[in-house]
């Protein structure tokens, strides 16, 4: 299938966004308390699709909400009534604007685990019904390292539509998937399609972008070395100033552990599925009282190894997309980049 690239001016992009918001259920980064979070918007000026990458929460909650109802139950004289909670506010047809490349890739990585073993139908439905339009990443932030990981940032098909700022002052809107192509046919009617020269421009833009990275590593080397580092004493060192909160996992676009909790009042209750994190001391606490990961370094080891070894072995992709959200959000700025490099090079 041929994928089209459209060309426009920055003003044209604004009207492209406006047209989308007018006809679709649209989510975009909205500022609150200095942080940007993806919220449903009614008019384009409320949102900032090109919000600063490190101050933007991930889009994970739109597919894997921080707390979702699983079921309701009620104790009656005859027994227990269990009802599925069918209403899912995230299942409708929708468009997400201003998705960072790393975030979009995060969903591709999550897809692997959500279609393996148990098929999470809620997640699949949300994925199918969503069109992802990327943000214009022009410069790497302090903790970004997406170009050092196992995906092609330049040609990524994680987003349906890519929006790229050319160095020539024009904006390029490119379909990256079939879904995106159909979407653009319907929504980009006012824009001019372009050909080969656009690809040249986009290449130049990508080169400027990839040149702006402070952090660079060879993921193959890291994957290889990490395999033999399970007993490495370096984990103890990197974990010393960790405060064992759950922040890194909760802001991570790919962390997907959850816990199940019940909230009951008298005979009625609701069961919730909410985020959980392996950095939490209770995460592995068993009913008998035994905890296989009582020390911080063991939990950190699990986090690093899961991201760069176990997931890679099972699904062939790294569970880290190099967005740097964990580092910037961490109370003591522990960087997963530094951790894996330090552990690998001991």
């Amino acid at each position: 299938m041929n994928l089209t690239t459209y060309i426009t001016e920055p003003a044209g992009l604004q009207s492209f966004y406006e047209a989308i918001v007018a006809t679709n259920e649209t989510y975009a980064p909205v500022e609150k308390l200095g942080k940007f979070d993806y919220k449903q918007i009614k008019t384009p000026p409320e949102c900032q699709p090109d919000s600063p990458i490190e101050q933007t929460m991930s889009i994970k909650p739109l597919f894997f909400p921080k707390s979702a109802r699983v079921m309701k139950y009620e104790a009656t004289a005859e027994g227990t009534d269990v009802t599925d909670t069918t209403e899912d506010p995230l299942a409708g047809k929708r468009v997400i604007l201003g998705v960072k490349h790393c975030d979009a890739r995060g969903l591709q990585v999550l897809d692997e685990v959500y279609k393996w073993d148990y098929i999470d139908t809620d997640y699949q439905k949300r994925r199918e019904n969503t069109i992802i339009i990327s943000a214009r990443c022009e410069q790497a932030a302090t903790h970004c390292f997406c170009t050092s990981l196992d995906y092609d940032v330049e040609q990524s098909d994680a987003m349906d539509v890519a929006v790229i700022n050319g160095l020539d002052g024009k904006v390029y809107i490119q379909a990256r998937t079939e879904k995106g192509e159909h979407f653009l046919k319907e929504n980009a009617s006012g824009l001019a399609a372009t050909n080969g020269s656009a690809l040249e421009e986009m290449k130049k833009q990508y080169q400027a972008f990839s040149g702006s990275f402070r952090l660079k590593m060879d993921y193959k080397e890291i994957n290889g070395k990490m395999q033999s580092r399970f007993e490495s004493p370096a984990f103890e060192e990197v974990a010393t100033n960790c405060v064992s909160c759950n922040t890194c996992a909760f802001v991570c676009p790919t962390c997907h552990c959850f816990k199940i909790t019940d909230e009951r009042i008298r005979d009625e209750g609701v069961r919730y599925k909410s985020y959980d994190s392996c950095n939490n001391i209770y995460f592995t606490l068993m009913a008998g009282g035994h905890n296989p990961r009582p020390a911080k370094y063991r939990r950190w080891r699990q986090r690093a190894m899961h991201k760069f070894v176990y997931y890679k072995e099972r699904f062939g992709v790294n569970l880290c997309v190099g967005c740097g959200k964990c580092t910037i959000s961490c109370p003591v700025n522990i960087s997963i980049f530094e951790v894996v490099n330090q552990v690998s090079n001991v």
Binding site: K32, L33, G34, K35, D37, M57, K66, S67, T142, H143, R214, T240, N241, V243, S244, C245, N246, T247, A249, F250, V251, K259, T261, D262, E263, R264, I265, Y272, S274, Y275, S277, N280, Y282, S329, P331, V332, N333, I334
Partner: protein
């Protein structure tokens, strides 16, 4: 305010005299102007230590962990940090004989925008109140002032205030970074984490967050020293100081101008009983 050299010298001396097993200080992140806590075990790592007006984190937080509990620890404390240390000593969380404290007569730290932080502007006790060695010139206790945001909030009608807080708590992801960054939240098992409890909501819903944060702030009422570790740790930038400063004001006004951790062995406002405590708000 730059005590980098003095702190490095003292830490080096303590290691060479074998007086400490561990030194807790700050180091530069290496990628921006900020500093992060560092735990040093060896003499040769001492040169990592720095101290400037970017040394924000309250290091007494690390005293609550198992691996520092029975070790001899050297650490740096600013005014607010020393008050929380005082409370930890009073509450038997650390042993004074295990500590070597470098106190700072603090001139205030910078926030991310490069301005003097709000809690430093309103600080009542910039000098360390407990120390073995003091750096800088002490300026003494200042007059208590009500937090500017609390004053602003107090003018709003109750309903509006409620909505304001609801909007704030909506952004909470319940990562518990606030709790884990607080030196005075040292419980091994927090009541909010009781997942099987029917009293506390385990879910990440707004009401769950509301409940958890209110409980947390009440457990810190009369104990919070306004170091704002919690607020700086929050990934959603929630203005958590509003909860604590409100409690602080109520306690200051009703409990004989009590301020947490100012004197050693002073128990929190809620732990001591005095005949002169007002009872007009007790039904």
């Amino acid at each position: 305010m730059d005590y980098t050299m003095q702190i490095q010298d003292t830490a080096a001396r303590l290691f060479s005299e074998e007086k400490i097993d561990l030194f807790i200080g700050y180091r530069s992140t290496g990628f921006d102007n900020n500093q992060v806590p560092v735990l040093i075990h060896h003499y040769q790592d001492v040169e990592q230590l720095v101290f400037t007006d970017k040394s924000v984190f309250n290091l007494t937080n690390y005293l609550k962990y198992e691996y520092t509990r029975n070790k001899r620890v050297g650490l740096v404390v600013k005014g607010c940090d020393s008050r929380s240390l005082n409370l930890m000593l009073t509450e038997n969380q650390v042993k004074r004989e295990n500590l070597f404290i470098i106190g700072i007569a603090c001139e205030g730290v910078m926030n991310e925008q490069g301005e003097k932080a709000q809690n430093c502007v309103e600080c009542v006790m910039p000098d360390a109140v407990i120390y073995d060695e003091l750096l800088g010139a002490p300026t003494g206790q200042r007059e208590y002032q009500v937090n500017a945001d609390i004053n602003e909030l107090a003018e709003q009608p109750l309903i509006e205030r409620g909505t304001h807080f609801e909007e704030i708590f909506e952004n909470c992801i319940r990562c518990n970074a606030c709790r884990h960054s607080c030196p005075l939240c040292y419980c091994n098992k927090c009541c909010i984490d009781q997942e099987t409890s029917t009293l506390y909501q385990g879910s990440n819903t707004t009401s769950g967050a509301f409940h958890a944060l209110m409980t947390w702030s009440l457990h810190l009422a009369g104990r919070c020293v306004d170091c704002r570790n919690c607020e700086k740790a929050c990934p959603s930038h929630l203005p958590l100081h509003l909860l604590h400063k409100q409690n602080e004001q109520v306690i200051y006004e009703n409990f004989q101008e009590h301020l947490a951790g100012m004197i050693k062995d002073d128990r929190g406002a809620f732990y001591k009983y005095s005949m002169s405590d007002p009872d007009d708000f007790i039904m």
